[in-house]
């Protein structure tokens, strides 16, 4: 379909992170993700998971599945209103182990119990809905949603998230 107006191709990107056994009280992990649509931060979450994970890859995996749901919802909404794009969405995470499980469906004892999440993510990758890649810990914007950070680091991430203070003296 060609319309007289130019429509920007909207890319959806997501940073996902998990704070493994972050809570000292019950050793549950924290889910964290932030979604950018066309470079603008639209959705984010920081929430304690409701089950205990036995490894960091496992908790990261749950986060990937959760952020995937949010991403798919956003893409469906965009497609519906006619602004979607067929380009695969980008999902970044800083856990190599989780990425390996996502790219090749290898099951062994330690991933058996998260089978549903594994199949869900693998299916989406094979359908080319999403592509996953690794992000260096220093570039991980999900950091701000997982733990307490120092002032300069907060400044840096806020800047990347597109947070500004328009009332600040320039």
């Amino acid at each position: 379909m060609v319309y007289g107006i130019e429509i920007m191709v909207i890319l959806i990107k997501c940073f996902s992170d998990a704070d493994w056994v972050g809570s000292k009280i019950d050793r549950r992990s924290t889910t964290c993700y932030c979604v950018f649509v066309g470079g603008n931060l639209v959705s984010w979450k920081s929430k304690k998971q409701n089950v205990v994970s036995r490894s960091s890859a496992e908790s990261q995996y749950r986060v990937m599945a959760q952020s995937m749901c949010e991403l798919i919802w956003i893409q469906q909404l965009l497609n519906e209103i006619g602004l979607g794009s067929s380009l695969p969405m980008k999902l970044w995470c800083d856990n190599q182990a989780a990425l390996h499980i996502a790219s090749n469906l290898v099951f062994h004892e330690r991933t058996k119990h998260i089978e549903i999440d594994c199949h869900f993510i693998c299916e989406k990758i094979q359908q080319n809905v999403i592509s996953t890649s690794h992000v260096k810990t220093t570039e991980q914007l999900g950091d701000i949603f997982t733990k307490a950070l120092s002032g300069p680091r907060i400044e840096y991430i806020c800047n990347k998230l597109g947070m500004i203070n328009i009332y600040a003296p320039a």
Binding site: I25, T30, S43, I74, A148, N165
Partner: protein, 336 residues
């Protein structure tokens, strides 16, 4: 009050009937509200007639009550789309929104205090339209609203039921509704004015012009993008807690500390703690930077302790550092 009575009469809210046997009436009363502008000045004084919905019985006076409201993520997505394409944002307000909903159930109400019809004081009001306070009002209103919008030719989104869209050769129209607050954007300016007059014809609307203040969020738009902040909300929060003069700090949470459920003394005013956590939670709408600390302090809502209160104060001091901070949605097409 007279204005409200006129609005009720104009909309044909009820008819006076004799109460059928074995039917019960519900009471009603007047409620007075002061509406405030973003700068704190008084906008207008209003009075509402509300039905005592708590006296309604399930399956007799009402059945379903669920009514969708827009997700905050879809509101932000909406703003981001408007920013990227440099589309104008229009805001409409529907007057007496709930009075437009059609009631499916038979509900009988006493006559409003001070406005009992002469010579008919034994009669009761059989409600035809929904009224503030009834359990099913939001649902009735949303049903009517969505009908009217679809009559205009817009489609309802399946992903978020309060987002409506239309796509034609001329361009796009997008609409998002949050109960009676409506925001419209799109590239089809003729279609948008047609939609506005269509809504005006069906409901009484007030055109608030370009969007500036929506759900407590201040919206500033320019060619380069859209800026969302909750500056007034933060300043009010700081005033309420007496933190206006506090020393600002650079981080919302002390690094390398863990809050536990047992440390410290029980906090003296748990209600205040809970209320403040609720307010901070709403602040995360434009403040992703405090999402993590807020989620942590909200884990101790049940029995807050002094250590948790200290963590909450830390968040307030962090907000004090930059109350005007917010999210900036860039028009990427413009910058390239």
């Amino acid at each position: 009050m007279e204005e409200e009575m006129r609005a009720l009469d104009d909309n044909g809210i009820w008819e006076l009937v004799d109460l059928p046997v074995r039917k019960q009436t519900i009471g009603c009363k007047w409620v007075y509200v002061v509406k405030v502008n973003p700068d704190g000045s008084v906008a207008r004084l209003k009075s509402h007639l509300v039905a005592k919905g708590y006296a309604q019985t399930y399956r007799v006076d009402y059945s379903d009550t669920f009514s969708p409201v827009a997700k905050l993520a879809s509101i932000r997505l909406f703003m981001s789309i408007a920013a990227t394409n440099d589309w104008p944002l229009h805001q409409l307000d529907i007057k007496n929104a709930f009075l437009h909903g059609d009631l499916k159930e038979k509900v009988y109400m006493e006559q409003p205090p001070g406005f009992v019809a002469q010579g008919e004081s034994s009669k009761v009001c059989r409600l035809r339209k929904s009224l503030y306070g009834l359990k099913q009002s939001p649902r009735a209103w949303f049903g009517r609203f969505s009908e009217v919008i679809q009559e205009f030719g817009m489609k309802k989104s399946k992903c978020d039921h309060s987002v409506f869209y239309q796509q034609s050769e001329v361009g796009f129209i997008l609409l998002v509704g949050y109960v009676d607050d409506i925001v419209i954007t799109g590239s089809d300016s003729k279609g948008i004015s047609a939609l506005k007059s269509f809504l005006q014809a069906n409901f009484q609307t007030k055109d608030l012009g370009m969007l500036r203040y929506f759900l407590g969020i201040e919206v500033t738009k320019c060619k380069k993008g859209i800026f969302l902040s909750q500056r007034k909300y933060i300043l009010d929060l700081l005033t309420e807690t007496g933190k206006l003069g506090a020393k600002p700090c650079s981080a919302p949470m002390v690094t390398n500390t863990q809050l536990t459920a047992e440390d410290g003394e029980p906090f003296a005013d748990p209600e205040m703690y809970r209320r403040l956590v609720g307010k901070l939670n709403y602040l995360t709408v434009t403040h992703p930077d405090i999402a993590c600390p807020v989620s942590i302090v909200s884990q101790f809502m049940a029995s807050p302790r002094t250590t948790h209160w200290a963590a909450l104060e830390q968040i307030l001091c962090y907000l004090k550092g930059a109350p005007g901070r917010g999210i900036w949605y860039r028009n990427h097409g413009h910058t390239h």
